[in-house]
Amino acid sequence: MSVTLALPSKGRLKEQAVEHLGRAGLTVVEPEDVRRYRATLAGRDDVEVVFLSASEIARELGAGAVDLGVTGEDLLRETIADSEARTEVAAPLGFGRADVVVAVPDVWLDVDTMADLDDVAADFRARHGRRLRIATKYWRLTQRFFTAQHGIQVYRIVESLGATEGAPAAGSADVIVDITTTGSTLRANHLKVLSDGVILRSQACLVASRKQRPERDAATIAELAAALGAARGA
């Protein structure tokens, strides 16, 4: 019996995840052949480590194909349709912090809140012959926030695969939903976050998929969650 732990395969997120495991006394032993994507934890034959991209980790957790994973909460909520039912945040890890926010051109001096944006969206078609356009890669989070939480029905989502913050100036969208850490990229692009426009305060989390598993594996997961959760304060 063993559990599978998926870790981010590259970048800052990978480094921070490995460091965090280290603080919890868990050493990731990477394969000697760097082209291989499987690793182990030193002294733990009950855990198998795989390296995947952060969004793949979210998807595989949703499908129950891996037991545990380190990924951003934003990706978890965006990638999986019913993330609460399929997965469980076992421990927030305190790094990879970023907010998913609604930002509008700062020259929209009359728009401070989602209620203002609702007004603007409602009139948009009559005034401009098309619906208000929102550029984002967060379809699911945007829809839930606009429609379910704020009752805004009429807008269109324009898929953005990068440089979302440039969409209003490029004319491909009117407003954006994007991730921000310090807000400096938004400011540089003359955008402002609405006062009630924070959709999600995200950070990297240890996430477990919800499924039937042997007691020993469940115990291993609980142990890892406790260790990684405690290492956060260390």
């Binding site: 029905q153 269109r156 009630d196």
Partner: protein
């Protein structure tokens, strides 16, 4: 694979008796009109695909929009009635993903009271044809009466629009009312915008906004214009110390609580108007004329209820809305309403009024089985 319900020929016969010729609607439809009209929330509930050239296509999720688009494309004369019977395709967590609907769209009839009443009567007749003798409950609502109440209360234009948008969603309406009773604090404006707003002239403010747009690289022609922003900013600033009064809030709550048999609804609305000292004469005259027409179709007057809070929070519904259900059931057999803004939104050159309904034949079939 879904087979045609056994009672389909009866419905088609009824359409013919009621002068609503059957129309053909393609199964594969451009997706944009549905997403534009119903909003992005629909995206997860329809079957989307892409054409080879990148256009978004979907399996038809309903009939009203395609029927109206066909009508506009053919430049057909009005008034005209279209009936349909066919499958619709929706992603549902529960229930089948493809099921039959049938209904009638009535376009361009200038006598709206007559057209509204006929739509309710057609829907009730369709259900009675399949479920003869079964008791049903009809609930009607009216967006235009609510809008008349908002106007008669003398609420600012922006507030009226905001509340009208929330009509039909109890949660959204409550949130909007709470917001207007206790408006959130606005952000502090930078200079020179603050001074320009105080002066209250849109043009100089718009000129300043245009300069800032140029700095930000945002085209003043692509979306919101400097004048749009300036006007709304001044309007908002004029309202910053205005609160929804207790009287207005009480009147709105009284209104929304009205639920009476349709035969008594006109009188109940008169009483409400007198008590709240609101002049709703024009809206009430239209309402009473329609109620009379509905009664004229021989629908059981006690079985038709008027619910003042019943509406659909979609911006193309303008007047009557109705649902027909079996007593005690919360999934209606039929839903309908007046959508006078829809054809304009879909690109019709001149305004074309419309009213229509759709019947869930899967639910009708289940009710038929259950009654056997």
């Amino acid at each position: 694979m879904t087979t045609l319900p056994s009672f389909a020929p009866d419905i088609i016969a009824l359409f013919s008796e009621r002068d609503a010729p059957l129309t053909e609607v393609a199964v594969i439809q451009p997706a944009d009109p549905f997403l534009d009209m119903a909003g992005e929330a629909l995206r997860r509930r329809i079957f989307l695909t892409e054409s080879e050239t990148g256009d978004a296509l979907c399996l038809r999720p309903e009939f009203t929009i395609p029927v109206c688009l066909d009508h506009i494309a053919k430049r057909a004369s009005t008034p005209r009635r279209y009936s349909y019977l066919g499958e619709v395709f929706r992603q549902r967590r529960e229930g089948a993903n493809e099921f039959f609907q049938a209904g009638i769209e009535d376009l361009g009839e200038a006598d709206t009271a007559a057209a509204d009443a006929r739509s309710v009567a057609d829907a009730a007749a369709l259900i009675a044809r399949v479920l003869p003798g079964r008791a049903v409950e009809v609930v009607v609502g009216d967006q235009s009466v609510f809008e008349a109440v908002l106007a008669a209360l003398g609420l600012p234009r922006g507030w009226q629009k905001r509340l009208a948008r929330a009509f039909g969603s109890a949660g959204a309406l409550e949130a909007a009312l709470a917001d207007l009773a206790h408006p959130p604090r606005n952000g502090v404006l930078p200079e020179p915008a603050a001074t320009l707003v105080m002066a209250g002239e849109p043009e100089p403010l718009a000129a300043h906004i245009a300069e800032r747009m140029a700095e930000a690289g945002i085209s003043p022609l692509a979306g919101r214009s400097p004048l749009d922003i300036a006007r709304r900013l001044i309007e908002k600033s004029d309202l910053r110390s205005v609160r929804l009064s207790d009287e207005a809030l009480a009147a709105l709550k009284d209104f929304l609580a009205i639920r009476v048999p349709l035969a008594q609804a006109a009188a109940a609305l008169e009483d409400f108007a007198a008590k709240s000292q609101l002049s709703l004469a024009a809206a009430l005259a239209r309402f009473a004329a329609r109620a009379e027409r509905i009664a004229g179709h021989g629908l059981d007057a006690e079985g038709v209820q008027y619910d003042a809070a019943f509406g659909r929070p979609l911006d193309y519904y303008t007047g009557l809305v109705f649902e027909i259900s079996l007593p005690g059931s919360d999934s209606p057999l039929a839903g309908g309403g007046r959508y006078d803004r829809l054809l304009t939104l879909l690109g019709a050159g001149k305004p074309i009024p419309g009213v229509g309904f759709s019947v869930w034949l899967d639910r009708l079939g289940e009710a038929l089985e259950a009654g056997r």
